[in-house]
Protein backbone atom coordinates (compact mmCIF):
# COMPACT_ATOMS: atom_id res chain seq x y z
CA UNK A 1 0.00 0.00 0.00
CA UNK A 2 1.30 3.46 -0.88
CA UNK A 3 1.81 5.82 2.09
CA UNK A 4 -0.86 8.27 0.85
CA UNK A 5 -3.40 5.43 0.64
CA UNK A 6 -2.86 4.72 4.33
CA UNK A 7 -3.40 8.29 5.48
CA UNK A 8 -6.63 9.29 7.19
CA UNK A 9 -9.34 10.84 5.03
CA UNK A 10 -10.73 13.81 6.96
CA UNK A 11 -14.32 13.14 5.94
CA UNK A 12 -14.18 9.52 7.16
CA UNK A 13 -12.52 10.53 10.42
CA UNK A 14 -15.21 13.15 11.06
CA UNK A 15 -17.98 10.62 10.40
CA UNK A 16 -16.51 8.40 13.09
CA UNK A 17 -16.07 11.33 15.48
CA UNK A 18 -19.71 12.34 14.94
CA UNK A 19 -20.85 9.06 16.53
CA UNK A 20 -19.10 10.08 19.76
CA UNK A 21 -19.71 13.81 19.67
CA UNK A 22 -22.59 13.96 22.18
CA UNK A 23 -23.46 17.56 23.00
CA UNK A 24 -19.93 18.89 22.62
CA UNK A 25 -19.27 22.25 21.03
CA UNK A 26 -17.31 21.57 17.84
CA UNK A 27 -14.94 23.96 16.11
CA UNK A 28 -14.23 22.07 12.89
CA UNK A 29 -11.45 24.34 11.65
CA UNK A 30 -9.99 23.08 8.39
CA UNK A 31 -12.45 20.17 8.44
CA UNK A 32 -15.37 22.58 8.27
CA UNK A 33 -16.37 21.94 4.68
CA UNK A 34 -16.91 18.25 5.50
CA UNK A 35 -18.28 18.75 8.97
CA UNK A 36 -21.21 20.96 7.85
CA UNK A 37 -22.55 17.95 5.93
CA UNK A 38 -21.95 15.48 8.75
CA UNK A 39 -22.95 17.30 11.93
CA UNK A 40 -26.36 16.59 13.38
CA UNK A 41 -26.16 19.53 15.81
CA UNK A 42 -25.14 22.51 13.68
CA UNK A 43 -26.16 25.04 16.32
CA UNK A 44 -23.47 23.65 18.61
CA UNK A 45 -20.85 24.00 15.87
CA UNK A 46 -18.58 26.91 15.08
CA UNK A 47 -17.61 26.38 11.44
CA UNK A 48 -15.77 29.66 11.06
CA UNK A 49 -13.56 28.71 8.14
CA UNK A 50 -10.39 30.68 8.57
CA UNK A 51 -11.00 34.04 10.30
CA UNK A 52 -7.23 34.51 10.62
CA UNK A 53 -4.72 31.70 10.47
CA UNK A 54 -3.34 30.39 13.72
CA UNK A 55 -6.24 31.13 16.04
CA UNK A 56 -8.43 28.02 16.21
CA UNK A 57 -6.84 26.52 19.33
CA UNK A 58 -6.92 29.76 21.29
CA UNK A 59 -10.53 30.40 20.29
CA UNK A 60 -11.36 26.89 21.51
CA UNK A 61 -9.50 27.52 24.77
CA UNK A 62 -11.56 30.67 25.35
CA UNK A 63 -14.80 28.79 24.76
CA UNK A 64 -13.70 25.90 26.96
CA UNK A 65 -12.83 28.21 29.84
CA UNK A 66 -16.09 30.12 29.44
CA UNK A 67 -18.26 26.96 29.29
CA UNK A 68 -16.62 24.44 31.62
CA UNK A 69 -19.81 22.36 31.72
CA UNK A 70 -19.46 21.49 28.00
CA UNK A 71 -16.89 19.53 26.09
CA UNK A 72 -15.19 21.68 23.45
CA UNK A 73 -13.62 19.89 20.49
CA UNK A 74 -11.39 21.69 18.01
CA UNK A 75 -9.95 20.37 14.76
CA UNK A 76 -6.83 22.47 14.45
CA UNK A 77 -4.24 22.04 11.68
CA UNK A 78 -0.45 21.81 11.78
CA UNK A 79 -0.11 24.98 9.69
CA UNK A 80 -2.30 26.88 12.13
CA UNK A 81 -0.55 25.46 15.17
CA UNK A 82 2.94 26.23 13.84
CA UNK A 83 1.89 29.88 13.64
CA UNK A 84 1.11 30.00 17.34
CA UNK A 85 2.86 27.11 19.06
CA UNK A 86 2.94 29.07 22.32
CA UNK A 87 -0.77 28.46 22.79
CA UNK A 88 0.09 24.88 23.76
CA UNK A 89 1.82 26.22 26.87
CA UNK A 90 -1.15 28.46 27.66
CA UNK A 91 -3.62 25.58 27.29
CA UNK A 92 -1.47 23.32 29.44
CA UNK A 93 -1.23 26.00 32.12
CA UNK A 94 -4.98 26.66 32.14
CA UNK A 95 -5.77 22.91 32.23
CA UNK A 96 -9.29 23.02 30.74
CA UNK A 97 -10.67 19.58 31.57
CA UNK A 98 -13.27 19.95 28.81
CA UNK A 99 -10.92 20.74 25.87
CA UNK A 100 -10.15 18.14 23.18
CA UNK A 101 -7.53 19.41 20.78
CA UNK A 102 -7.34 17.41 17.56
CA UNK A 103 -4.80 18.48 14.97
CA UNK A 104 -5.04 17.58 11.28
CA UNK A 105 -1.56 17.18 9.86
CA UNK A 106 -1.45 17.00 6.05
CA UNK A 107 2.18 18.20 5.98
CA UNK A 108 1.32 21.13 3.72
CA UNK A 109 -0.57 24.37 3.23
CA UNK A 110 -3.41 22.71 1.28
CA UNK A 111 -5.52 25.82 0.73
CA UNK A 112 -2.71 27.68 -1.00
CA UNK A 113 -1.68 24.89 -3.36
CA UNK A 114 0.02 22.28 -1.22
CA UNK A 115 3.34 23.89 -0.39
CA UNK A 116 5.08 21.99 2.47
CA UNK A 117 5.04 23.38 6.01
CA UNK A 118 8.56 23.76 7.45
CA UNK A 119 10.17 20.38 8.20
CA UNK A 120 6.83 18.81 7.26
CA UNK A 121 7.67 15.14 7.65
CA UNK A 122 9.82 15.31 10.75
CA UNK A 123 7.76 16.94 13.49
CA UNK A 124 6.21 15.06 16.41
CA UNK A 125 3.39 17.36 17.39
CA UNK A 126 2.19 15.06 20.16
CA UNK A 127 5.69 15.24 21.68
CA UNK A 128 5.59 19.04 21.50
CA UNK A 129 2.17 19.10 23.19
CA UNK A 130 3.40 16.76 25.90
CA UNK A 131 6.54 18.84 26.32
CA UNK A 132 4.42 21.95 26.77
CA UNK A 133 2.56 20.24 29.59
CA UNK A 134 -0.47 18.52 28.07
CA UNK A 135 -1.17 15.57 30.36
CA UNK A 136 -2.42 13.44 27.45
CA UNK A 137 -1.17 13.52 23.86
CA UNK A 138 -1.19 10.90 21.14
CA UNK A 139 -0.76 10.51 17.38
CA UNK A 140 -2.58 8.44 14.76
CA UNK A 141 -1.65 7.60 11.21
CA UNK A 142 -4.53 5.30 10.35
CA UNK A 143 -8.28 5.43 10.71
CA UNK A 144 -8.66 1.98 12.22
CA UNK A 145 -6.65 2.81 15.35
CA UNK A 146 -8.34 6.18 15.68
CA UNK A 147 -11.73 4.54 15.35
CA UNK A 148 -10.93 2.12 18.18
CA UNK A 149 -9.70 4.84 20.54
CA UNK A 150 -11.92 7.86 19.89
CA UNK A 151 -14.50 6.88 22.51
CA UNK A 152 -11.85 6.58 25.20
CA UNK A 153 -10.15 9.80 24.09
CA UNK A 154 -13.35 11.76 24.59
CA UNK A 155 -13.89 10.19 28.00
CA UNK A 156 -10.50 11.35 29.26
CA UNK A 157 -10.13 14.52 31.24
CA UNK A 158 -8.66 17.34 29.17
CA UNK A 159 -6.74 18.99 27.90
CA UNK A 160 -6.16 16.18 25.42
CA UNK A 161 -4.08 16.54 22.26
CA UNK A 162 -4.42 14.19 19.28
CA UNK A 163 -2.35 14.53 16.10
CA UNK A 164 -3.81 12.92 12.99
CA UNK A 165 -1.89 12.33 9.75
CA UNK A 166 -4.44 13.14 7.10
CA UNK A 167 -4.57 12.95 3.33
CA UNK A 168 -3.92 16.41 1.84
CA UNK A 169 -6.90 17.84 -0.02
CA UNK A 170 -5.04 20.42 -2.05
CA UNK A 171 -6.88 23.42 -3.45
CA UNK A 172 -5.79 24.53 -6.90
CA UNK A 173 -8.83 26.60 -7.90
CA UNK A 174 -8.24 30.36 -7.48
CA UNK A 175 -9.67 31.73 -4.24
CA UNK A 176 -12.59 33.63 -5.75
CA UNK A 177 -13.76 30.65 -7.82
CA UNK A 178 -13.93 28.01 -5.08
CA UNK A 179 -17.19 26.42 -4.06
CA UNK A 180 -18.47 28.15 -0.93
CA UNK A 181 -19.28 25.62 1.77
CA UNK A 182 -20.22 28.01 4.56
CA UNK A 183 -24.00 28.23 4.74
CA UNK A 184 -24.07 30.89 7.48
CA UNK A 185 -22.04 34.01 8.04
CA UNK A 186 -19.45 33.78 10.81
CA UNK A 187 -21.40 36.28 12.90
CA UNK A 188 -24.56 34.18 12.47
CA UNK A 189 -22.66 31.04 13.46
CA UNK A 190 -21.67 32.63 16.77
CA UNK A 191 -25.16 34.02 17.36
CA UNK A 192 -26.64 30.55 16.82
CA UNK A 193 -24.10 29.02 19.19
CA UNK A 194 -24.84 31.58 21.89
CA UNK A 195 -28.54 30.92 21.51
CA UNK A 196 -28.01 27.16 21.74
CA UNK A 197 -26.01 27.69 24.93
CA UNK A 198 -28.58 30.16 26.31
CA UNK A 199 -26.02 32.95 26.54
CA UNK A 200 -27.49 36.42 26.78
CA UNK A 201 -26.46 38.72 23.93
Amino acid sequence: MKREDALIQTVEMLKIFQQHRGDAIVIPGRGGRHWVNISTRPNLDAPLGDPAMGGHASFALGLALARPERKVVVFDSEGDLLMSLGILATIAEQKPANLYHFMLDNECYATTGGQPVPNAKNISYDAIARGCGYPRASAYIDLESFSKDIGDILNQSGPVFVALKIFPEIETVPLGQRLRWMTRTRVQVLEDLREALAIAK
Partner: protein, 173 residues
Amino acid sequence: MDDAYTTHLSPNIVLEQVLKNGVTDVVWLPDSETNGLFLLMKAEPSLCLIGVSREGPACSLAAGLSTGGKTPVVLIQNTGLMECGDSLRGWLLGLNIPVVFMVGYRGRKRHGVTQDTAAIYTEPFLNAFGIHYYLVESDADATRITVAFEEAKRKKKPVVVLVGEEYGGSNPR
Protein backbone atom coordinates in the same frame (compact mmCIF):
# COMPACT_ATOMS: atom_id res chain seq x y z
CA MET B 1 -0.04 71.15 42.34
CA ASP B 2 2.95 69.84 40.46
CA ASP B 3 2.70 68.33 37.01
CA ALA B 4 3.90 64.90 38.10
CA TYR B 5 1.07 64.65 40.60
CA THR B 6 -1.64 65.71 38.19
CA THR B 7 -0.51 63.22 35.58
CA HIS B 8 -0.19 60.26 37.90
CA LEU B 9 -2.23 57.22 36.98
CA SER B 10 -3.00 54.91 39.85
CA PRO B 11 -3.38 51.24 38.97
CA ASN B 12 -6.00 50.91 41.74
CA ILE B 13 -8.24 53.36 39.95
CA VAL B 14 -7.73 51.53 36.66
CA LEU B 15 -8.60 48.23 38.31
CA GLU B 16 -11.70 49.81 39.84
CA GLN B 17 -12.85 50.75 36.34
CA VAL B 18 -12.13 47.27 35.00
CA LEU B 19 -14.15 45.60 37.77
CA LYS B 20 -16.96 48.11 37.45
CA ASN B 21 -17.39 46.95 33.86
CA GLY B 22 -17.82 43.30 34.74
CA VAL B 23 -14.52 41.98 33.45
CA THR B 24 -14.13 38.27 34.17
CA ASP B 25 -10.88 37.36 32.39
CA VAL B 26 -7.60 39.11 31.67
CA VAL B 27 -5.70 37.87 28.63
CA TRP B 28 -2.24 39.27 29.12
CA LEU B 29 1.35 39.40 28.05
CA PRO B 30 3.95 41.27 30.12
CA ASP B 31 4.13 44.98 29.52
CA SER B 32 6.32 47.43 31.40
CA GLU B 33 3.77 50.24 31.22
CA THR B 34 0.98 48.27 32.87
CA ASN B 35 2.92 45.97 35.19
CA GLY B 36 1.52 47.60 38.32
CA LEU B 37 -1.97 46.97 37.03
CA PHE B 38 -1.09 43.37 36.24
CA LEU B 39 0.09 42.76 39.81
CA LEU B 40 -3.15 44.14 41.20
CA MET B 41 -5.22 42.06 38.79
CA LYS B 42 -3.29 38.97 39.78
CA ALA B 43 -4.25 39.57 43.39
CA GLU B 44 -7.93 40.15 42.56
CA PRO B 45 -9.84 36.90 43.20
CA SER B 46 -12.72 37.70 40.85
CA LEU B 47 -10.42 37.83 37.82
CA CYS B 48 -9.06 34.89 35.87
CA LEU B 49 -5.65 35.65 34.35
CA ILE B 50 -4.68 33.88 31.14
CA GLY B 51 -1.11 34.40 30.00
CA VAL B 52 -0.24 34.12 26.31
CA SER B 53 3.13 34.17 24.59
CA ARG B 54 2.13 36.21 21.53
CA GLU B 55 -0.55 38.80 21.01
CA GLY B 56 -2.30 37.30 17.96
CA PRO B 57 -3.68 34.35 19.95
CA ALA B 58 -4.85 36.83 22.60
CA CYS B 59 -7.42 38.06 20.05
CA SER B 60 -8.83 34.63 19.21
CA LEU B 61 -8.75 33.64 22.88
CA ALA B 62 -10.74 36.76 23.77
CA ALA B 63 -13.17 35.95 20.94
CA GLY B 64 -13.74 32.48 22.42
CA LEU B 65 -14.26 33.85 25.92
CA SER B 66 -16.68 36.49 24.68
CA THR B 67 -18.61 33.98 22.57
CA GLY B 68 -18.94 31.82 25.67
CA GLY B 69 -20.45 34.67 27.66
CA LYS B 70 -17.42 36.06 29.49
CA THR B 71 -16.15 39.63 29.49
CA PRO B 72 -12.43 39.58 28.74
CA VAL B 73 -9.97 42.44 28.67
CA VAL B 74 -6.68 42.16 26.76
CA LEU B 75 -3.64 43.60 28.54
CA ILE B 76 -0.67 44.05 26.18
CA GLN B 77 1.87 46.60 24.95
CA ASN B 78 1.62 48.67 21.76
CA THR B 79 4.42 46.63 20.17
CA GLY B 80 2.28 43.51 20.55
CA LEU B 81 -0.80 45.32 19.34
CA MET B 82 0.93 45.81 16.01
CA GLU B 83 1.95 42.16 15.92
CA CYS B 84 -1.66 41.00 16.14
CA GLY B 85 -3.07 42.89 13.16
CA ASP B 86 -4.42 39.91 11.22
CA SER B 87 -6.03 38.40 14.31
CA LEU B 88 -7.63 41.75 15.16
CA ARG B 89 -9.07 41.80 11.67
CA GLY B 90 -10.31 38.24 11.53
CA TRP B 91 -11.14 37.19 15.08
CA LEU B 92 -12.41 40.45 16.55
CA LEU B 93 -13.51 42.94 13.90
CA GLY B 94 -14.71 40.13 11.62
CA LEU B 95 -16.72 38.38 14.32
CA ASN B 96 -18.19 41.52 15.96
CA ILE B 97 -16.50 40.81 19.28
CA PRO B 98 -16.88 43.54 21.92
CA VAL B 99 -13.57 43.62 23.77
CA VAL B 100 -11.44 46.30 25.39
CA PHE B 101 -7.67 46.31 25.04
CA MET B 102 -5.57 47.99 27.73
CA VAL B 103 -2.44 48.83 25.79
CA GLY B 104 0.77 50.12 27.35
CA TYR B 105 1.79 53.08 25.22
CA ARG B 106 5.55 52.51 25.07
CA GLY B 107 7.39 55.62 23.92
CA ARG B 108 4.50 58.01 24.52
CA LYS B 109 5.67 61.52 25.47
CA ARG B 110 3.22 64.23 26.42
CA HIS B 111 5.20 66.81 24.47
CA GLY B 112 4.87 64.65 21.36
CA VAL B 113 8.56 64.21 20.55
CA THR B 114 9.68 60.60 20.63
CA GLN B 115 12.26 58.51 18.85
CA ASP B 116 10.46 55.28 19.72
CA THR B 117 8.85 53.84 16.60
CA ALA B 118 6.53 51.78 18.78
CA ALA B 119 4.87 55.06 19.77
CA ILE B 120 5.19 56.67 16.33
CA TYR B 121 3.18 53.91 14.64
CA THR B 122 0.62 53.13 17.36
CA GLU B 123 -2.12 55.61 16.54
CA PRO B 124 -1.71 55.37 12.73
CA PHE B 125 -2.02 51.58 13.15
CA LEU B 126 -5.28 51.90 15.08
CA ASN B 127 -6.61 54.46 12.62
CA ALA B 128 -5.81 52.13 9.71
CA PHE B 129 -7.98 49.43 11.31
CA GLY B 130 -10.72 51.89 12.21
CA ILE B 131 -10.35 51.01 15.89
CA HIS B 132 -11.37 53.78 18.28
CA TYR B 133 -9.04 54.52 21.19
CA TYR B 134 -8.87 56.53 24.39
CA LEU B 135 -5.72 57.87 26.00
CA VAL B 136 -5.49 57.42 29.75
CA GLU B 137 -2.55 59.12 31.45
CA SER B 138 -3.85 60.30 34.80
CA ASP B 139 -6.46 59.44 37.39
CA ALA B 140 -8.65 62.13 35.92
CA ASP B 141 -8.71 60.21 32.64
CA ALA B 142 -9.75 56.91 34.21
CA THR B 143 -13.47 57.23 33.50
CA ARG B 144 -12.57 56.94 29.81
CA ILE B 145 -12.08 53.24 30.51
CA THR B 146 -15.78 52.87 31.21
CA VAL B 147 -16.52 54.84 28.05
CA ALA B 148 -14.38 52.33 26.15
CA PHE B 149 -16.26 49.35 27.60
CA GLU B 150 -19.61 50.93 26.83
CA GLU B 151 -18.54 51.69 23.28
CA ALA B 152 -17.20 48.18 22.68
CA LYS B 153 -20.50 46.69 23.85
CA ARG B 154 -22.62 49.12 21.86
CA LYS B 155 -20.68 48.81 18.62
CA LYS B 156 -19.69 45.13 19.05
CA LYS B 157 -16.11 46.01 18.24
CA PRO B 158 -12.72 46.10 19.90
CA VAL B 159 -11.90 49.42 21.54
CA VAL B 160 -8.45 50.35 22.81
CA VAL B 161 -7.38 52.18 25.97
CA LEU B 162 -3.85 53.53 25.53
CA VAL B 163 -2.11 53.72 28.89
CA GLY B 164 0.47 56.52 28.84
CA GLU B 165 3.81 56.03 30.51
CA GLU B 166 5.82 59.24 30.64
CA TYR B 167 5.24 59.68 34.36
CA GLY B 168 5.44 56.01 35.17
CA GLY B 169 2.25 54.86 33.51
CA SER B 170 0.37 52.64 35.90
CA ASN B 171 3.52 51.25 37.47
CA PRO B 172 3.65 51.62 41.26
CA ARG B 173 5.41 54.82 42.27
